[in-house]
Amino acid sequence: MPAIESILTTQTRSDVTSEPVSPVSVDQHPYIPMTDADRAAMLAAIGVQSCDDLFTDIPEAYRRPPLALPDALSELELLVEMRRLAAQNRTAAEYACFLGAGAYRHFRPSIVDPLVMRGEFLTSYTPYQPEVSQGTLQTIFEFQSLVCDLTGMDVANAGMYDGASALAEACLMACAVTGRRRIAISERVHPNWVAVVQSYAHGRDIAVDVMPHGALAPTEAHACLAVAQPDFLGRMSLDAAAWGDSAHAAGALYVVAVDPISLGLYRPPSQYGADIVVAEGQSLGVPLSFGGPWVGLFACREKYLRQMPGRIVGETVDLDGKRGYVLTLQTREQHIRRERATSNICTSQQLSALAASVYLAALGPQGLRRVAELCYERAHYAADRIGAIAGFEVERDEPFFQEFVVRTPRAAAEINRALIERGIIGGLDLSDAPRDRLLVCATEMNSRVEIDAFADALAGIGGAR
């Protein structure tokens, strides 16, 4: 980050410590319109002497405790300080990036932000009053439809917190549907997602069996078999349909977690038996933002509709027969069903869902397929280049989409450290001794020239001792 910033900052901070920064008395803070005159008039109308009289229900001893926080920063100072902190991150904004592992850097069309950030979308609440919330409601209806188009499933909800919690809710839903209390999940699902499933399952005292890839064998005890396609290491399995059959044979539901971009190129889970499909929506026009806010996609077969968690919007008409949209099937939800609700989810991630909708609307089928093809092409080009470097070996036993595993001649961590000094954010360190391995990702954002530079850097580093 620039000199000017850092310099300004130091001063900012000294301001903060040396003297009150807020240029106006607090009752003139821009966020609080109430002036002294307003306060006086309102207190009079209420018939009390001071604001304190309104807090007498708080036991005396606990009122107005000291608050050890610095004085307010003016907007200028706040921006300087935040730029200083932002500059302490080494990000894909300034570095070449080959890191994926569940968070993917894709092109975000310029129309997404100006539309999503419109105040009417940004600052409205969950659409409880449909007459004045048709904007949000229709975008949710369209989001549900787009998720169905993408996954090939019958119905979808308004979105979940993120992909991991969507998977967890899917597994709990499977338990509700089947009345069973064990979850079977593939070891090749993203470890963080498995961890979230375990947290949620632990709550309801449901057991989670993490099954080896070779032996995904759900039994009559299992509510579902959960798999990922592509899996955590980017591989596209040819057995996805067979797994579905084994799940169904055991009377379990088949839950599939997908990468939505891959669906531009690869067949949807509906075509290999999925009962519930979940996905992380971040790839669809949502920035990385250090992990959130993102949005979970959740779709399933029609027959499970009423066990689905989350908000659902339906089409209807108003008194004049005009088409409109409303929150529907709410008897599933916490505010009606309370302790018997399908989930406790309330506020979700609507704005991220909106970004995903705008993204899909902008790309269309041609665009989404193009992005998927570019990812495939760039990733395989990277694999070829890296595979050709002495000492590096690319694991190729299975087909992959945009991510692959590289065996490295020296500690993956050392390699990443050397890469960052060369302006490159490397892959994920998978090192499970004795092997040193990197999970490398390339998308349409990684140009061939950049990939070449990456390979050259690895060649330079690899040999080094």
């Binding site: 130091t10 109430m34 610095p70 009417e120 979308f121 007459e131 919330s133 506020t347 609307a361």
Partner: protein, 527 residues
Amino acid sequence: MTGDEKVLEKTLAELSHPGRVAVTLPCTESDVASQIPRELLRGELPLPELSQLDVVRHYTRLSQLNWSIDTHMYPLGSCTMKLNPKVNDAVAAMPGFAEAHPMQPAEDVQGALAVMYGLQRQLAEITGMADASLAPLAGAQGELAGVLVIKAYLESIGEQRTTILVPDSAHGTNPATASMAGFDVVAVRPQADGDMDLDALRTALEEHGPTVAALMITLPSTLGLFDRSIVQIAEMVHAHGAQMYGDGANMNAMTGQVKPGDLGFDVMHINLHKTFSQPHGGGGPGAGPIVVKAHLVPFLPSPHVERVDAGMQPQSPNPIQQRGTSRSSIRRAASSVDHEGNQTLPGTGNTEATLFRLVDPPYSIGKLASFHGNFVVLLRAHAYILSLGADGLRAMSGAAVLNANYVQARLRDAYEVAHDRSCMHEVLFSGRKQKAQGARTLDIAKRMIDYGYHPPTIYFPLVVDEAMLIEPTESESKETLDAFCDAMLAIAHEAEATPDLLRDAPHAAPLRRLDEASAARKPVLRW
């Protein structure tokens, strides 16, 4: 009159036209499809096809069908619809944050971790707790985290407690969460004045005795009241070896006025998208951090941001002299004071210094999200707290409570006040009187739309019939409140004189009332 009068705005599918695109992409250099196993390849991809102008107009028009804080007063009780400062959006958009990858090593994301650490400390300080976890992605997930923390703690001391007490005035997520965490829910009623009925509580505690894990209580309550016996309640609960869970959705009434930690709460969640001004986005994203007392810290969700002692602080050369040769030298100079007021390490732009790192608490209940939580929401909240400071946060709750009491004072003769005492940040009315006149609370709410005000929260809490929960927040000016109250008084008069006017409302909205029954009977959930 734009086209089909029966439709406010066509759907993307209806606007779709084969061959259109709204954005261009680079070319591929090979036939990718041919490189993929046939059985993996997708056939048709039925997405809408639109031009860029189609997409821009569609969403711009749809947005105008929404009411929002940026356009209307939005006094939705229990939701704290306050100003969303634009500067926070500017901070959220900074590439250094927006492009940070959650899997990068700690030393490369010190700025992001500094923000999270700063917020952990701020929230702990504001609530009087030992520490905070920022992992939960919304209030409800914060509740789940908090209850699971209690569960883990009790297990750790070998207690098997299976019941959670929840006032029946509680928000739906409370009981829903309790059962998601595997607990039985036992309801407790409030007494006439809105405070908890201590006898009822005593009975419940004795009846369920050693199985009670916690009392889940909202403060101020969903009735908009500060429970005067909260300290006794905490004592009683603790006396039975149970934990005090606080629902902090109403924190906007308390910042700087009282610290829940001081009152005996063991764990509490906070809705950053309420008190701390995250824009609601039509239903999220939000964030539901939890704050806990020391005995619960080891059980917090993972990850948690920890600060390593700053030993080897590099030299701070004159920022200017080094300029031009290496920007890192400039960054290194950016030494400053962190947001608790402590001296922090300089920016670690290109240095190896690592001040903050992500850790898993020793007995963590585990992960709740793919990565570290809704970071941008945390970022906005951090910026918001820095912008207000201690005085500002106190002024904020003071103004929020004064505004609510002003509305109560101005409307008390026209509408029945649920509890005749000074309220906190929101005021609860009952529409009983108007119902008798032939206009239900729903009708009053819809009529408010004609006057240009978003309806309040209605029929919640369930314990008061025809409930209207009005939360003006500190953001609304006296002029706006007066105009709002004038409208409410006019409506009260209309309810008496011409109740039909209300039953037909709204008259001035894009749509009239919608048929929700048939929407649920024959669901149409997609094109």
